[in-house]
């Protein structure tokens, strides 16, 4: 215990590397700018990360089960547009469940194609990215959606309200993260998700219904996307058709940064939350240092590759790849 061998240090670094990196970033940014650690700033960063974060929670399930979901961005646009449109037609009380049902129906479709028909998830969700984008444009006729009477509705509570001094979107994010974290870590279903992603064949032989598990993961992902769409719609009270465009890859970056392997079988909700926060704080910290917004793209590039590289380097016990 007293003396750590080199290998043990390596294991600790590999397991907790993302936390250590997170701590280093926080210290660095605090030294660079005193305003960084102020409660106001911290709150605003977490608040602006919630939409990305909520989506990343769902995608974590999909990635752990060994699949990908590239359709979350256009699905988020869809749910935002739908809920804004229905808000004026049937009122918020009915619009929200209707939007959740429609979004989760799309999730069920993907889950069916990937889970039961065993189609490649990358291509299926790539196709759905395009198809759902088309569906959204058809639904809205290409026009922006706006709520007519912005003052006469309680719909803004999800994006702009606050309870106990904490913004509601943050509360939703925390609650959902806790719920899904428990589901993944403490329930038989969670164990099945890991088993299916780690070794699908072995999971099938041990009596786990693989297709059903994958299907459920996509439903969870769609539920998270619908929640993100609700927050987005409620925050802006109006939206373009392309509000979620490109977010699928940002979400995936956050999940990967959190240490989930694209091969499936590893990752946790907690680490994904850290991944989301790292992306948010890097963006904020670099802006506070007076750098242009695009510098974060370059920094994120380097961090993603370094994070995954060090992770697999620790696992294989050598820095450079054995590929000849």
């Amino acid at each position: 215990m007293a003396t750590l061998t080199k290998q043990e240090i390596g294991t600790v670094l590999a397991k907790q590397g993302i936390l250590i990196a997170f701590a280093l970033f926080m210290i660095g940014f605090t030294l660079a700018n005193a305003k960084f650690l102020s409660p106001d700033n911290l709150f605003s960063v977490v608040r602006s990360s919630t939409i990305l974060g909520v989506m990343a929670l769902g995608v974590t399930f999909v990635v752990i089960s060994g699949n990908l979901d590239l359709s979350v961005g256009s699905m988020m646009s869809f749910s935002t547009i739908v809920v804004l449109d229905l808000h004026d037609k049937i009122g918020p009380l009915l619009a929200i469940p209707a939007m959740f049902a429609m979004t989760m129906a799309l999730g069920a479709m993907i889950g069916f194609l990937v889970g039961y028909l065993k189609l490649n998830s990358l291509i299926v969700t790539l196709g759905m990215l395009s198809a759902i984008h088309g569906l959204t444009l058809t639904y809205s006729g290409g026009k922006n959606m706006d709520i007519d009477n912005k003052d006469g509705t309680w719909f803004d509570v999800f994006g702009q309200g606050s309870a106990l001094g904490i913004p509601v979107p943050i509360l939703i994010f925390i609650a959902l993260a806790a719920l899904l974290g428990l589901l993944l870590a403490k329930t038989p279903f969670g164990r099945k998700v890991y088993a299916v992603g780690g070794n699908g064949t072995a999971a099938t032989f041990s009596g786990i219904h693989r297709a059903r598990t994958v299907f459920a993961c996509y439903i969870i992902s769609a539920f998270c996307v619908a929640t993100a769409g609700l927050i987005q719609a409620s925050r802006s009270m109006g939206s373009q058709n392309t509000v979620g465009q490109g977010m699928e890859l940002e979400v995936l970056a956050a999940v990967i940064l959190g240490g989930a392997s694209l091969m499936g079988g590893s990752g946790t909700i907690f680490k994904t939350v850290i991944g989301v926060l790292i992306l948010g704080f890097i963006q904020n910290g670099l802006l506070l240092m007076g750098l242009q917004f695009y510098v974060q793209f370059i920094v994120t590039w380097i961090i993603i590759i370094l994070a995954v590289w060090l992770d697999i380097a620790a696992k294989r016990g050598r820095l450079w790849s054995p590929i000849a």
Partner: protein
């Protein structure tokens, strides 16, 4: 035995059958639905279609090589934008001031070199770190886009050189310059993949990397060469397109990777590597462009195009799966 032959024929000729179907459908439907009087299968229309296929098509040839090799490249859209900016910006650099029209040659070379270098950088990282290509290029998609913004912020970069525009708008034997580039690239990539050692090794690596290593093939350099080639082709695509348009926005090329991958998969290349052909990809590119034009011809708007292409992609995947005995379908990324 019969079913095997049938599935083989469907796999090989599927995309061409699909194109013929599209042509018939849009020609017939156009008679009833189109607002214009011109026929869909008009020669001018088809030549324009070939020209419009070039930007996506040229990159898709590179993607075919990378995907046959068992990798993927998500950063092509950003590479495309960088090359475009280098091309247009470098023509105004003071060091090239005294060159007259020779500056075009310098700018072309520079843009192509930058594209090749960025592609090679991706390949080198994939090779040396062993990080999956999906993650590496997902990262560089962001990073390269950051580099694009470093040039000129959010402003467009514009520089119209009339000699260059004349060249890009020239027509030789009835085909536009861009079309010639697409055809030439298709031919060269086909030659590399079927007639050279590098091509055969790329197939072998994509099919079974373990076996390729055991057979003494050096996996890393082959992967890096393919990434360098796709970087070069992304730059070439930009160079051909922006010679004519002369103005590039920092967001140009976004979502190109998705269109390109769609075309390549429609053309029959396996996402897991080891199978596919540039000729099939050419068919995939044409099929997508036909769909866009055809749906426009019968009065559907862009939203329908997105919807239809997405569903067709999934349908193709499903049919492909039914035709192949199970096995190689697992996601290997």
């Amino acid at each position: 035995m019969k079913t095997g032959a049938l599935s083989e024929a469907l796999k090989k000729g599927g995309i061409w059958g699909f194109i013929v179907l599209e042509l018939i459908f849009f020609s017939v439907a156009g008679q009833f639905l189109s607002l214009s009087n011109s026929a869909f299968m008009d020669l001018d229309n088809m030549l324009l279609l070939l020209k419009q296929s070039a930007p996506i098509g040229i990159i898709a040839m590179g993607m075919t090589m990378v995907m046959i090799n068992g990798n993927i490249d998500l950063s092509v859209g950003a590479t495309y934008a960088i090359a475009a900016i280098v091309l247009l910006d470098s023509m105004t650099w003071p060091i090239f001031a005294g060159l007259g029209d020779w500056v075009i040659l310098m700018s072309w070379t520079l843009a192509l070199l930058v594209g090749t270098a960025l592609g090679a950088l991706n390949g080198l990282i994939v090779w040396k770190t062993g990080v999956d290509a999906f993650i590496v290029t997902l990262g560089s998609m962001l990073g390269f886009r950051g580099l694009v913004f470093m040039f000129n912020g959010e402003n467009p970069t514009s520089n119209l050189n009339w000699t260059l525009v004349d060249f890009a708008e020239a027509e030789v034997l009835g085909l536009a310059t861009a079309t010639w580039f697409l055809l030439a690239v298709t031919l060269v990539v086909w030659f590399i993949m079927t007639r050279t050692v590098h091509g055969r090794n790329a197939y072998a690596i994509g099919d079974n990397r373990e076996a390729a290593v055991n057979a003494g093939i050096r996996v890393g350099p082959h992967m890096m060469i393919n990434f360098a080639i796709i970087g070069f082709l992304a730059a070439l695509s930009a160079v051909v397109f922006y010679s004519e348009s002369g103005s590039v926005n920092p967001n140009d090329g976004q979502l190109f990777e998705l269109w390109v991958i769609t075309a390549v998969v429609l053309g029959g290349t396996k996402i897991t590597g080891g199978a596919g052909s540039p000729i099939g990809t050419f068919g995939g590119v044409i099929a997508i462009q036909l769909l866009r034009k055809g749906l426009g011809h019968i009065g559907a708007d862009t939203s329908t195009v997105n919807l239809v292409i997405g569903l067709i992609l999934i349908a193709v995947l499903f049919i492909d799966r039914q035709l192949n005995v199970k096995g190689k379908q697992e996601l290997r990324i």
